[in-house]
Symmetry: C2
Subunit: 389 residues, 2 copies
């Protein structure tokens, strides 16, 4: 029996994780749950899974949870302390980070210190603080199992193989809803357009990141930290069908690819079962129905976010953290209708240009770079809005 | 340094193997060579690699080899004894079976008894005597490394993974030159048509087997013996581009696939280097140039050889051996212009129908079934020719 903490249990990944728990009641047990805002759903989950610890993002949320009248296991914790309490509960074996955004960073570091296995669906943590997090994991000999379908695919392809035999990692990208659009057409993109992802059902932030290709850029940075490869060993290929989830090229030119249906329950379950594999509650991929798989190079000129991410990774230090923070602000501004789709990379580039790179070897340095970049990007976004009027 | 015997050094696989040796002179050394008929090329190879033992198929061939005047390492051995001498030379670590046909069977068993690693490009040996060969390899703890691109792909996909996690092996097939043809069109196929393979350059026998899909049928039988899976765990999918060389589906629905360029030097080198990997003398696959990969179910009604192979594998005992022998006779008859393309499965089916299944647990039983099937199939082929007139 593996005992699970889920950070972000009411979101898309969190609910999929609970579906995996439902499929394997003899193998997985929920110990603790943390939600952002959705007190009603967390109340249902508490009633069903009877966790030993729960947290909500804010005191207002905690109050709403208490108001549901559900039997709670004790105090409802909040904020970063709440996430840390949920992640480091002594009965927990694996912590699944299913929420997006940078708020989970301290809770990841705390769980590593507590010796928990980390199942990571959150992108920002490694992008902001890859050096800190992976160094801590090495020191404590804690495994970080990627849940993101691309890194999970690479983990599966690398399993059992010698790292010295790896020449290149190839991350596949669906290309998002705007693959093949002209620069002019991209200028006219609306929020509703950008939220229509062709192959994956995901949260709003990650769906926009997928449309700009920043999602893939963040994954390139994560791949560097997760698999210990150089930036020039990580490539991106557009694969609109999202059937091949990523590939590894070995020194002899042979490639291994992981394929599967586009259902996050698969990589979540893999991270929970590893190194075992369990029967999955999803139908297998029928290759003859997938029929045609296409591959093409990404249009770096039309989707500059991918190039910005490579630039940030090459620069190192706190630059990826700044990239990530500027992107979070830019995407939020776009979702609020305050800037256009093609303003997103402009806000990021302008923030990177104003930034003086520094090391990212302490939590404080990371948080400082993050705060500076958010403030700067917000300022740039407002200017961009003003210009737009 | 790994020391190599090559059975069939002048053929397509054999010359590719020597190209791999040329690329890694510090890692591979040729100890012994056996050729079928091509004395002139073997003489060149002897002059270049200075093997410690050589063999030709026949005494006439040996005489031609001596007549070239090349400095020979001693007696030129012939026949099955010649293959055994080459395969079991005390300095040999790995024996590469690069010839097609059933003649190598005794030499495979002898090399296993001598504790050599087996690199197997020959299909017939496992189809005829899979039980005998794999039981001997288990007993002597000898590895059988498949060189065939499909089994090599599966070997790469399985490496490091628990066999209990495997749900299904999926062999890809190019579909051969006649994919999509009507039954009427298949009746009109000429030898020249059948020898035009769309993606692989191979010998004549295997090219015809590829056109009838018997090649894939033989591979299904081999996969059963190589990987210890049940017949119903082996599927075939048509993939005309031959970029995905085969796949493994795990119990959780996840699939791993091996991809690469269509160059036999890759799987040959993998078998020689395993468990290491060495830089290969071929350019890597560019997925964005491969561009489109298609998958479709095989047309079992139009290509009955595949179904016959599954039937033979299910029947077990000496039935696969009979299938293989009947196929060799039928293909030879077709290549000699004596029977039509669609007569090939008819000859095999008629031979299987007349056969009384028996165990294949001794070399004598295998050879007896093989001889009976050849005689019967030749008889059927002649009848078929007579009918044709």
């Amino acid at each position: 029996m593996k005992r699970l903490a889920i950070i972000g249990s009411t979101g898309s990944i969190g609910t999929s994780a609970l579906a995996v728990v439902d499929a394997h009641p003899d193998r997985l047990q929920v110990v603790s749950l943390a939600a952002g805002d959705n007190a009603a759903l967390l109340a249902e989950q508490v009633a069903k899974y009877r966790p030993l610890a729960v947290a909500m993002a804010t005191e207002a949320g905690a109050e709403r949870l208490r108001a549901t009248g559900v039997a709670l296991p004790g105090e409802v914790r909040t904020g970063s302390d709440g996430l840390i309490a949920v992640a480091t509960h002594p009965d927990v074996d694996i912590v699944l980070y299913a929420s997006s955004g940078s708020v989970a960073l301290e809770a990841v570091l705390a769980a590593i210190e507590a010796g928990k296995t980390i199942a990571l669906a959150n992108k920002e943590v490694l992008v902001m603080a890859g050096e800190l997090v992976t160094a801590a994991a090495r020191r404590r000999q804690v495994a970080i199992l990627p849940v993101d379908s691309e890194h999970n695919a690479i983990h599966q392809c690398l399993h059992g193989h010698d790292g010295l035999h790896v020449r290149r990692l190839i991350l596949t990208a669906s290309g998002g809803p705007f693959r093949g659009r002209s620069a002019e057409a991209l200028d006219q993109v609306t929020v509703a357009d950008a939220l229509k992802h062709p192959t994956w059902q995901m949260g709003r932030k990650i769906t926009i990141d997928s449309a700009t290709l920043m999602n893939k850029g963040l994954e390139v940075i994560e791949a560097h930290w997760l698999f210990g490869v150089r930036p020039d060993q990580i490539d991106v290929v557009i694969h609109p069908q999202s059937v091949v989830h990523s590939l590894v090229e070995f020194v002899d030119g042979s490639m291994l690819a992981q394929l599967g249906v586009t259902d996050m329950r698969l990589p979540i379950q893999y991270a929970c079962s590893y190194p075992d594999r369990w029967a999955a509650p999803v139908p297998p991929l029928d290759l003859t129905r997938a029929a045609t798989l296409q591959f093409e190079p990404p249009a770096l000129d039309l989707f500059p976010c991918l190039g910005l991410a490579y630039r940030a990774l090459h620069a190192g230090g706190d630059v990826p953290c700044v990239l990530n923070a500027a992107n979070e602000v830019a995407v939020a501004s776009f979702l609020e209708g305050r800037i256009g789709f093609t303003d997103i990379p402009r806000v990021i580039e302008s923030t990177l240009a104003a930034h003086v790179p520094a090391p990212a070897d302490t939590l404080m340095a990371v948080r400082r770079a993050d705060a500076w970049a958010r403030a700067h990007a917000a300022h740039v976004a407002v200017q961009s809005t003003t210009r737009g009027i």
